[in-house]
């Protein structure tokens, strides 16, 4: 699989996590690929720069340079959309009015802590809305490649990078597996199509439990 295929696979699986009518904030990277796997109007996409009702831009002709998502990518306006300022947008996030946040990660650890904003030794120059989303979203789903470009596991025993929040994530979706954090423990719930348990064990630094009802996706 190309990296593009991997990302689309993860995005498609993440889309299946979204319950009808939920309000969902999509982070930068893989999360931006998710919207196209969701039936239009079935969930409401929120972007922290100040909009509810984000839809995919389907035609270059409709491109409006003043209508962008948090990744500064052009989007379009769904039916029933609304605009608000940044403080109101983060009041929605911090106040618990956004049901789901889907975020990328540098690392996630076996307790559920996420690191996704800073790399040690590099200047810390950007955090954006990541910490706010962790603080306030009802459910946090992490979508990430299972391993880094250097083939190191991104699902680690303990984050070595600075964590984003004291709040733990709920679900981790990679191209190999789906994990959930249950009672503070990492639990393997699903194997992605064609992936063996051994492969997941091999490529995962974190300790994890294996669900009794593990699902093998085809």
């Amino acid at each position: 699989m190309t990296n593009k295929d991997i990302q689309e696979l993860i995005a498609k699986r993440a889309a299946a996590e979204l319950k009808p009518n939920s309000v969902v904030n999509l982070g930068i990277g893989i999360p931006t690929l998710i919207a196209k796997y969701v039936e239009p109007g079935s969930v409401f996409f929120h972007t922290e720069n100040g909009m509810l009702g984000v839809e995919e831009l389907t035609s270059e002709e409709d491109l409006d340079p003043s209508l962008v998502n948090a990744g500064k990518l052009p989007i379009s306006e769904g039916i029933g959309a609304s605009y608000f300022n940044s403080a109101e947008s983060f009041a929605m996030i911090r106040g618990g009015h956004v049901n789901v946040a889907i975020l990328g990660a540098l690392q996630v650890d076996q307790e559920g802590y996420i690191a996704n904003w800073a790399i040690p030794g590099k200047n810390i120059m950007g955090v954006g809305g990541a910490m706010d989303l962790l603080s306030g979203a009802g459910k946090v789903i992490v979508t990430t490649n299972h391993t880094s470009k250097n083939s190191e596991s991104k699902i680690v025993a303990k984050c070595s990078y600075p964590i984003t929040s004291l709040r733990k994530v709920d679900v981790i979706i990679t191209e190999l597996a789906v994990f959930k954090i249950e009672d503070g423990k990492l639990v393997l719930k699903e194997l992605m199509p064609g992936v063996s348990l051994d492969e997941v064990k091999e490529k995962t630094e974190a300790s994890f439990e294996i669900s009794e009802e593990i699902i093998v996706l085809r």
């Binding site: 340079p65 300022n85 940044s86 809305g129 706010d132 004291l166």
Partner: protein
Amino acid sequence: MQKQMKPEEAIQKIQSGHTLMVGGFGLVGAPLTLIDELTRHDVNQLTVISNNLGEAGKGLGILLRQGKIKKAIGSYFTSNREVGDFYNQGKLEIQLMPQGTMSESIRAGGAGIGGYFTKTSAGTELAKGKETREINGELYVLENPLKANVALVKAAKADTLGNLVYYKTARNFNPLMATAADFVIAEVDEIVEAGELSPEEIVTPHLFVDAIVQSQLILSKEGVVSK
């Protein structure tokens, strides 16, 4: 009261050592004409509160290259790699804030709030040195209000009194910054007579706005262009 001014006239309000707020999320909703004017205005030692510092050599990025900026307060400087260079050379101070904390602090500055507790950043590196407190079993961080001497904001329309309405996601930080500075300059694409904006749709009431400037540079599909 005549609030309409030329860009070069309004920008005189900015003095060396001032703290500025500059609206916009990247270039979207940024007061491009005023930023451009500022590159020709002879000031330095500025503290700039803005989500980003433009891009390398663009927007606020020009001011950075000109050495006019002493300190940048924002949430995401990664889009201009020169920010890191200036920081490493000791030419720039950085105060990185979570985006929601930044926007809430600006609101607090405008609303006369002396400080507030948020869960955001509690327990992370960005909370180092900050007062924390457990509230209902969860850890909160005390954050301070942000204020400025001058705010440069962008709106879609102003009426002659200074009431403002915004356009789509170009709204972002602009209505907040309009509340939190001693002098507020609004760059707008269109100026209409008082009474032409619906009272229910006005987002920034005129009491927040000191000067209105007609935009000359706008963001198009092709990037920043003259009107």
